[in-house]
């Protein structure tokens, strides 16, 4: 038997580019590069030829032209005299607000359903299973359209709310006469301030200092509460006795913001039926309501499955150990199981938030004017610039997705188990 201590030094031959595994990968990469470049060149060439044939060019200047269409739901000031770019921003805000509300509501509902599905209560567990299976296995689009149709076809017209002397009206408002759901939209009370802080006009959009003040106070309260809890933990670890702090927490969390709102004079403007329709308050279009409700219900079922899988991934020994220590089932769940399950739950949860955000584009089914509805819808049709609009829209969606996954991955890294 001979031992090969050194590979034989052969001179480089051209055939080694194919036969020798050391060089073959370079050959393949070079071929891939050439093919890729050829493909891109082919596509680019086709695009140029096609654009020339249609007498078009690639130009994003249209974004500064007058948009000329109305958007009912605009979170930043907008009129139809504003530019297409402004419409794009309005659409982007609408996309983000649906995504945000949907993520929050579906997480809350999903966690509740996921935990209840594992409940020892036979009836509740079965009900939750049925809920999850029904919502998961039917297209999201169906829920969006169905909720929208039910709202806009079963609800009475605004005139049914009209009060005639001596008669009761055909339809009634809900929640102590504060919310009216008609077939055109949902009218909810509008919060108003009697002595608000001034509004700053910052470049292209006004910023309400009152809102910022409220947000700042809430953030400060939450931070103070965290400090309080940290201090309590220190005391508990030093003395073994946990001081009662729940009333302090309540005070810290709620008193400052209530005081601030009271000082600014918060009051509500209720929707009132006048003439032919409701006046006052905010009118929320059914497209928004339907999209939010459908996204919430559908993603709640998906998130519930994630939560269930995460909880079941924690070994039984953990809950048994906790029971052996005499911890009650509810606290076992919140102190032992959920913190560990969170590590399993978060990575799939990130991708569900991502898909929820992307699925807001299904608002097209109910004519919700989100990013796709403004930039990829009306603007595209008005200007006829498919290439620019689609590219820009894809780019924006891509950036949103990348930001969400970056933020959530950072959070995931912070709660991940530190291993050696």
């Amino acid at each position: 038997m001979t031992l090969a201590t050194e590979p034989p030094k052969a001179n480089f031959r051209l055939g080694m580019l194919i036969y020798d595994t050391r060089y073959r990968s370079y050959t393949i990469q070079v071929i891939v590069l050439i093919l890729f470049a050829l493909g891109v060149a082919w596509l680019a060439n086709n695009t140029i030829v096609n654009l020339a044939a249609k007498d078009k060019d690639i130009n994003f200047g249209f974004l500064w032209n007058r948009a000329g269409y109305d958007i009912d739901q605009h979170l930043i000031p907008y009129t139809n005299d504003d530019s297409h770019f402004r419409a794009l921003l309005v659409g982007l805000c609408n996309t983000l607000v649906v995504a945000l509300v949907g993520c929050i509501l579906s997480t809350i509902l999903g966690v509740i359903i996921g935990v209840l599905r594992l409940s020892k209560n036979w009836l509740v567990a079965r009900l939750m299973t049925v809920y999850i299976e029904i919502f998961r296995n039917v297209p999201l689009l169906l829920w969006i359209i169905l909720v929208y149709v039910v709202f806009s076809e079963t609800r009475p017209e605004p005139k049914a709310f009209k009060l005639v002397e001596g008669q009761t009206s055909a339809a009634h408002m809900n929640f102590f006469d504060t919310i009216a759901v008609t077939n055109r939209g949902t009218n909810v009370p509008l919060p108003l301030l009697t002595n608000p802080l001034p509004t700053v006009h910052l470049g292209f959009m006004p910023i309400s200092l009152s809102l910022i003040a409220v947000i700042a106070v809430i953030a400060a309260s939450i931070y103070a509460n965290i400090l309080l809890r940290r201090r309590t933990k220190v005391i508990q670890e030093a003395t073994g006795i946990r001081p009662t702090i729940w009333w302090k927490s309540v005070l810290i969390l709620f008193v400052p913001v209530v005081a601030l709102l009271f000082a600014m004079g918060l009051h509500w403007e209720y929707p009132v039926f006048k003439g032919f329709n409701f006046k006052g308050g905010i009118n929320i279009a059914h497209s928004f309501t339907a999209l939010t409700i459908a996204l919430t219900l559908y993603y709640a079922s998906v998130i519930a499955e994630t939560v269930r899988a995460g909880i079941q991934a924690i070994s039984r020994g953990q809950s048994e150990a906790s029971a052996a220590l005499g911890i009650r089932p509810g606290r076992t769940m919140s102190l032992v199981i959920l913190p560990q399950a969170l590590r399993v739950i978060i990575p799939p949860l990130i991708s569900q938030y991502l898909s929820l955000t992307k699925d807001t584009s299904l608002g097209i089914a109910v004519s919700y004017l989100d990013l796709r509805g403004t930039l990829g819808g009306i603007t595209l049709n008005q200007t006829g610039r498919e290439l620019e609009c689609m590219t820009l829209m894809m780019l924006i969606y891509l950036i949103i997705s990348l930001i969400i996954s970056a933020v959530m991955n950072a959070y995931n890294a912070s709660v991940k188990l530190k291993e050696r």
Partner: protein, 480 residues
């Protein structure tokens, strides 16, 4: 010594107290254990009661026949259950089911999609139940019988019904005797289905199939000398040359020589669940191999291959499917040579395939990452080359781990076929339902069509997820 006060024989065991056994024990343990549990149960019962109280009268008063419009339905419900009663109008489904299933496919040709659908399951049988001979033949038999029943219902005993009966009987017999041969059916199925659904000359699919034969032959010649990658690439290039430059002449020549064709059906006639299944099945079957290749590319050592794969996957996963579909309908005309005529269904299938391939790639990558490194090293130690290691060691294990993820991607894809309505195709959910609801006779109907469409989607998707659980159990080899 005898102790008279000591009992000598054992007492018979007493039945447990009534509260500790049987139904009462079960109810107490599962429904009323503790106050919180009791509240939950009461809440659940209340919810159930509300749901039933709301929907039961509507369901019970449902009208199934003798109505040709919403007004008829309302009249019948009012006559039978009083003027204020509500009732479901299922008569709409009786009248319009054909549109929901076939779209605008000509009724005299319905036998073609029915036969294709039946053959789909025969073709799937060897894939679904690879080592279970009896399940395979049972599936073929049941599907064959159902297909024949549907054909008789659609057409009566015509020539093609008799032909289909013979075909299905032969395939069932084949499944019972030589199940391995069914794989040939699986390989031929795409071409047969294509021909059955769209019609046209039979030589089109046959010459297209010849392209694959060219690929296989060239691979067989080249691969032993230059390795599988080179073999596959050269074979692929040769097949492309065949498809692009030679196929049309050959197929026209044969068509002139031996004319045999089915009536051509244009793509705009496709609709309803026929369309959903065409898009779903073709995208599913192409996206899995594509996804595996992308996953391998993403884990490759070659920098360029890896970068391109990562870029592709992340781009596709970062944009909504709707924008991809709009790309198919609006932008593809810019990227392709001028005057390229490209069928809309084909465009949508390509884009949906690309979309779900990226998701499959991520799922398969997860499976690959979950494999212990020892498996890769053992494959190297055995002297297997890259493709042998992938085929024999890595993929069988990685795919097994990824089954739940892959199937849920498939379910998502099938549900997403409803989005094609936004580019003008008549999908069952939005396309057909809108048509029905726009009809003056069915104005004001909304629950019934959505319940009908939703129920069919539910059956298909739920079936897929149950099958994935069966597969997971079957392939489970560990002892946890």
């Amino acid at each position: 010594m005898s102790l008279s006060y000591i009992r000598k024989d054992m007492l018979a065991p007493q039945a447990p107290p009534i509260s500790q056994s049987g139904v009462i024990r079960w109810v107490r343990d599962n429904l009323f254990k503790g106050p919180f549990n009791t509240i939950l149960t009461l809440l659940a019962i209340w919810t159930l009661y509300q749901l039933i109280a709301l929907s039961w009268p509507w369901l019970a008063n449902g009208v199934w026949s003798d109505a040709n419009s919403m007004a008829d339905c309302r009249k019948i419900v009012a006559a039978s259950a009083g003027p204020d009663a509500s009732g479901a109008c299922w008569a709409m489904i009786r009248e319009r089911w054909s549109q929901f299933i076939f779209g605008f496919y000509p009724p005299s040709l319905w036998w073609r999609p029915i036969l294709a659908f039946g053959l789909l399951f025969v073709a799937l049988a060897p894939v679904l139940y690879s080592d279970n001979k009896s399940a395979m033949s049972k599936l073929c038999g049941v599907v064959g019988a159902l297909t024949v029943l549907c054909l008789i219902g659609a057409d009566g005993f015509s020539f093609h019904t008799v032909l289909a009966i013979a075909l299905m009987a032969a395939l069932t017999a084949l499944a019972a005797i030589k199940p391995r041969l069914l794989l040939i059916v699986t390989l031929l199925f795409p071409f047969v289905a294509l021909w059955l659904l769209w019609g046209g000359s039979i030589w089109g699919p046959i010459t297209a199939l010849l392209g694959f034969t060219v690929m296989v032959v060239i691979y067989g010649l080249v691969a032993p000398k230059l390795g599988p990658v080179m073999g596959a690439s050269i074979g692929f290039i040769a097949a492309c040359l065949w498809w692009l430059f030679l196929q049309s002449y050959v197929s026209e020549a044969w068509q002139a020589l031996l004319p045999f064709q089915l009536t051509y059906v244009n793509s705009d006639k496709f609709g309803g669940f026929l369309l959903a299944f065409v898009i779903g099945v073709s995208s599913i079957s192409i996206s899995l191999p594509l996804g595996i290749l992308l996953a391998l590319g993403r884990r490759s050592d070659m920098f360029l291959v890896k970068t391109l794969s990562v870029g592709f996957i992340e781009f596709v996963r970062g944009v909504p499917l709707i924008t991809m579909l709009f790309t198919a309908s609006l932008l593809l005309q810019y990227f392709l040579p001028p005057q390229t005529k490209f069928d809309l269904i084909l465009r949508v299938v390509i884009l949906v395939t690309i979309f779900s391939a990226a998701y499959n790639a991520e799922v398969v990558r997860g499976g690959l990452a979950a494999l212990p490194r020892g498996q890769y090293e053992a494959a190297d130690a055995l002297g297997l080359d890259y493709w042998q290691a992938q085929r024999l060691i890595i993929m069988p294990q990685a795919l097994k781990i990824s089954i739940p993820g892959i199937v849920s991607t498939f379910i998502g894809l099938f549900k997403d076929t409803t989005l094609v309505s936004f580019v003008g195709l008549a999908d069952p959910l939005r396309g057909i339902t809108t048509i029905v609801r726009a009809d003056i006779a069915w104005k004001g109907i909304y629950w019934e069509p959505y319940i009908f469409v939703g129920a069919i989607f539910f059956i298909v998707c739920f079936g897929m997820s149950r099958y994935s659980m069966y597969l997971e159990n079957k392939l489970k080899t560990d002892h946890r």
